[in-house]
């Protein structure tokens, strides 16, 4: 190990990340000390690593972080992540940001500062590529002199920002590719809660815990859209056919308007999604390249038809992963199972049913028939809290009837939905 160049030692220390580990390592020998002082690229102060024996109070943390950062030179990645810290005072935080301004490429910071400082103004903008902020507020974006020319990934969690500033912020990040907004506190200027975001470079967006009257997203290069725990009256997406992944988790959209060709869609994953179903089916019917389709926890009323297997096999010839969980009444079940086309390319199947019933066995059996190349099967079946005799009886019948069918498959897992326990795990 003696002849390793000091820069490589610096790389090794940078992979350690946790400040305590890096500092202890720096004591090994002179070369490691030099690597620590001159070639350290990444440093992380995480409350999980820091408070092992005794907790440090906020002032002690400020001192430790300051004197540690100031021993390094050329830091590129700085993470300060405190779970329950009160607030750092503004002066040390400003000092850390100014000291690393010239070289910083990644900043993760989740602590409130008192008085509140505008992190975006103080941190190095020229080289920053990744910015993750939480529990801070962002105000007053200035188009004229502020730009983040290299910023590729932006994540804002529990951040206060106005809708206007958020859209301005995107416009000063010409290379941004990934945006994550989690539980933002968005101040609205008009009576209607509207958010309009435009970006030509954005490739993925993740929005969580947001409630709006209108959300307009214009992103020509968008490849991945993921909304979670959102209530949107109107959601408009304007794209140019690059979308590959569409994920909705616990989302309600009253008016969904997508000017996107959907031709390149590969993954549709929706769970607990409230939307106008016929329109949605029509929208994804053009996605010939679809490989993964997951329709989970979908509540269908009598008038709305579930997507039947025939349609699925015709529209999506390349489908390889299929996951369906919706409780079907007898009529809807018959409708779903009509036709006899096989799902030729499906290799993985996930089926769910809220409360065990005999219809479920028929459903599973039929699907297994229609997937000749199936390799992996997962079954999620629920049992009510009461666990009535009848239900347990049905569960017993179900598993017994499944065994000969499942013999063919490499891996079968039976999940008891409520508790999540695996009640039976069959491997072949």
């Amino acid at each position: 190990m003696d002849d390793l160049p000091v820069e490589v030692i610096g790389n090794i220390l940078s992979q350690l990340k946790a400040a305590r580990d890096v500092v202890v390592a720096s004591m090994t020998c002179q070369k490691w000390r030099e690597a620590w002082k001159k070639h350290l690229r990444a440093l992380s102060f995480d409350s999980n690593d820091l408070s092992t024996h005794h907790g440090f109070n906020t002032t002690e943390l400020e001192i430790i972080i300051t004197q540690t950062i100031f021993q390094t030179r050329g830091l590129r990645c700085l993470t300060i992540s405190m779970e329950d810290a009160d607030e750092f005072s503004a002066a040390p935080v400003i000092a850390w940001l100014m000291y690393t301004k010239e070289t910083l490429r990644e900043l993760c910071y989740n602590v409130r500062t008192h008085p509140n400082i505008n992190i975006l103004e103080k941190c190095g903008r020229q080289k920053l590529e990744v910015l993750k902020l939480a529990h801070n507020s962002i105000t007053g974006i200035e188009l004229s002199y502020q730009k983040f020319p290299q910023l590729k990934s932006l994540s804002l969690s529990f951040v206060s920002i106005s809708a206007w500033d958020l859209s301005l912020l995107l416009s000063i990040c010409p290379k941004i590719e990934s945006l994550a907004l989690v539980s933002p506190d968005i101040a609205m200027s008009e009576l209607q809660a509207t958010m309009e975001l435009t970006s030509h470079s954005l490739k993925e967006i993740h929005v969580e815990a947001i409630s709006l009257d209108k959300f307009l997203l214009e992103a020509d290069s968008l490849q991945s859209l993921h909304l979670r725990d959102c209530n949107l009256e109107v959601f408009e997406l304007i794209g140019k056919g690059a979308l590959r992944v569409f994920k909705m988790d616990d989302v309600s959209i009253i008016h969904l308007d997508i000017s996107e060709s959907m031709e390149n869609l590969e993954v549709v994953d929706v769970a607990n999604f409230t939307v106008v179903w016929p329109k949605f089916y029509q929208m994804i019917s053009k996605s010939l390249k679809l490989r993964t389709l997951r329709l989970w926890g979908v509540v269908l009323d009598e008038e709305v038809e579930a997507m039947d297997l025939e349609t699925i096999s015709v529209y999506f010839p390349r489908l390889s992963h299929l996951a369906l969980s919706y409780d079907l009444g007898d009529d809807v079940l018959t409708h779903c199972l009509q036709g006899s086309s096989n799902l030729e390319n499906v290799v993985a199947l996930e089926l769910g049913w809220t409360i065990i019933s005999n219809r479920f066995s028929a459903w599973v059996a039929e699907l297994l028939e229609r997937c000749p190349r199936l390799k992996k099967l997962k079954i999620f079946v629920g049992v009510s809290e009461a666990k009535t005799e009848k239900e347990l009886g049905m569960l017993g019948n179900f598993t017994t009837s499944m065994i000969p069918l499942m013999r063919k498959y490499m891996e079968t897992i039976l999940h008891q939905r409520k508790t999540g326990e695996t009640i039976k795990c069959l491997h072949w």
Binding site: V8, V23, S26, T28, C29, R33
Partner: protein, 155 residues
Amino acid sequence: MATSRKVTLLSSDGESFEVEQSVAVESITIKDSIEEGSAGNPIPVPKVNSKILAKVIEYCKKHVESAKAEDRVDDEDLVAWDADFVKVDQATLFDLIRAANFLNIKSLLDLTCQTVADMIKGKTPEEKRKTFTIRNDFTPEEEEEVRRENQWAFE
């Protein structure tokens, strides 16, 4: 097409390896020398013996193939493959680090350095010195001073 061209790499102990150009240029060092036209054929790779060069080529091949693969699900598989790849003895690991550094293959360098970092984590300076046979070249006074600079980390 440029990518289907093959190049020959010559290890320090005289063994030749024929590889696709697309694989060889994972090494910025080799890429630069090909582009500058100063490569020569076969391209000599001093300081890297055949055993290590074979492993480096294996790594580059796997990563070039995975980047082409349509099915992006391979990410997890690649991580598992990488984890297996670095399950080697210490001497080989350091040889791989030296080779990745010399050949300028960032992902391999980061992977191998991460492996060493994982080995270091949680060890005292003395334990580290033992594991990697490093000589302690601090005087007792220097060591005391260094410890005091960052007292908090040792509490």
